[in-house]
Amino acid sequence: MSTNIDGTISVPAGVHLPIYMDNHATTPLDPRVLEAMLPYFTEKFGNAASRNHSFGWVAEEAVEKAREQVAKLIGATAKEIIFTSGATESNNLAIKGIAEMYRERGNHIITQVTEHKAVLDTCKRLEKSGYRVTYLPVKADGLIDIEDLKRAMDDKTILVTIMFANNEIGVIQPVAEIGKLCHERGVIFHTDGVQAAGKIPVDVNAMNIDVLSLSAHKFYGPKGVGALYVRRRNPRVQISEQINGGGHERGMRSGTLNVPGIVGLGKAAELAREEMDSEMKRLAGLRDRLKAKFDGALDYIHINGSMEHRLPGNLNVSFVYVEGESLLMGINDIAVSSGSACTSATLEPSYVLKALGLGDDVAHSSIRFGFGRFNNEAEVDYVADKLIDVVQKLRELSPLYEMVKEGIDISKIEWQAH
């Protein structure tokens, strides 16, 4: 790879711009998934709830096949899978549905601070209707402390909801330990499995998970479809429905089933399961390749979150003394995201990064790389060269980098916050 006279980096063979490396936000539909879905838009258009003709039977059969495929991905049985419109709905249904169903038993819910907003905002809503919510802190590596969880549990605790893997920093929580503890105490354990399902092994029995949310578009399926796993045995978990209607999905989620979407979710789950072992190794290889290139070329870089307990396809790096949005501007042929305030509507940097105890300045400098099925080594090399080039240019512009290089302790300066 070479740098052109105008400072641009030439594009090597095998790289097509723009490069998509934001696979935590969403993933492209796998063509094999699309192929499985297509007939269910046209000739196999039946309503899966139509019990008295073949159009309905064909649709129902497809839905039941998908239910098996999703169940198999997470070690569940088909009857334990409820189809939804996606993980936000699944998280709402799980948390509100359990809170409502077990209200007699208690009103205490435990979650943690780096959850997705679909969980945090749902918990905040419940606080307004008389529930008590404990938000556990995370350690500097992004993991919760099991001892904190033990201490937070009391005789009113009905639900623990802790995510499987984080969407920003890819950190994997000790779900098996959490599940074990919950079962010992007779507390229901829900996990937001959106970033984990289809990416890393998930086994609801081995991990003592009672309820799990997942979403098709995070693992090469279509948008607008997801599932909620609800345990039927040891213990049997009950959920009070949040959408009333025709009693679909065993009464837990009414509404005509999105048959093509569900078929896509099923196919995506099957492919993810079959290809998981090799794909995990491949993605970890891409991630480590990118990290090694940064380590070799740049000083003052900070990896956010544990490298050990991390999704293979995630790297979250702060290029300290360079502001994230200005960095994104210089790499506009690469799709990644930043925890910088400037990329959000609120002008607040990422609450996930702040929860790790990072200074706001380090949070402002962060970039999230999300590797997926369709990324390759040539792309990683291009991304590395481009990032390094832009970081170096912006550091030439950065008064902070200059001061640090001159030995000035910038934390001692009295800044005029505005």
Binding site: Y321, V322, E323, E325, S326, M329, G330, S340, A341, C342, T343, A345, L347, P349, G359, D360, D361, H364, E396, L397, S398, P399, L400, Y401, E402, I410, I413, W415, Q416, A417, H418
Partner: protein, 141 residues
């Protein structure tokens, strides 16, 4: 976020990047913003002691593209102006010139603050009270 062509031009080709000798009597330095807020601007001016004309301006900025463009533009605008003329530069002029969206107005405010801070520093060094107009060179009596 869509950037205007002018913001992109300043980002790609920032004008007057660098630093001037802070200890020089002729140099005023303004350092504004805070790392926690995601913006720090340092703007420096070198003033001709005879004419009070800003002969050189340099900047370095940690911040988003709009912050870089605002400070780059500020250095272009102050050059050739007297310190009093430079104080007339308003953040709204910067917003207009760079077509900044509402969410980026704070970048222009910071650039105006940086100009004022640099001039304030120069005035302090040269014994001119804050807010006081710089006396025009008077004929010897």
């Amino acid at each position: 976020m869509a950037y205007s062509d002018k913001v992109i031009d300043h980002y790609n080709n920032p004008r007057n990047v660098g630093q001037l000798d802070k200890s020089s009597q002729e140099v005023g330095t303004g350092l504004v913003g805070a790392p926690e807020c995601g913006d720090v601007m340092r703007l420096q001016i070198k003033v001709n002691p005879e004419t009070q004309v800003i002969e050189e301006a340099k900047f370095k900025t940690f911040g988003c593209g709009s912050a870089i463009a605002s400070s780059s533009l500020a250095t272009e605008w102050v050059k050739g102006k007297t310190v009093d003329e430079a104080l007339d530069i308003k953040n709204t002029d910067i917003v207009k010139e760079l077509a900044l969206p509402p969410v980026k107005i704070h970048c222009s405010v910071l650039a105006e603050d940086a100009i004022r801070a640099a001039i304030g520093d120069w005035k302090k060094k040269n014994g001119v009270a804050e807010g006081e107009a710089v006396a025009q060179p008077v004929a010897a009596h």
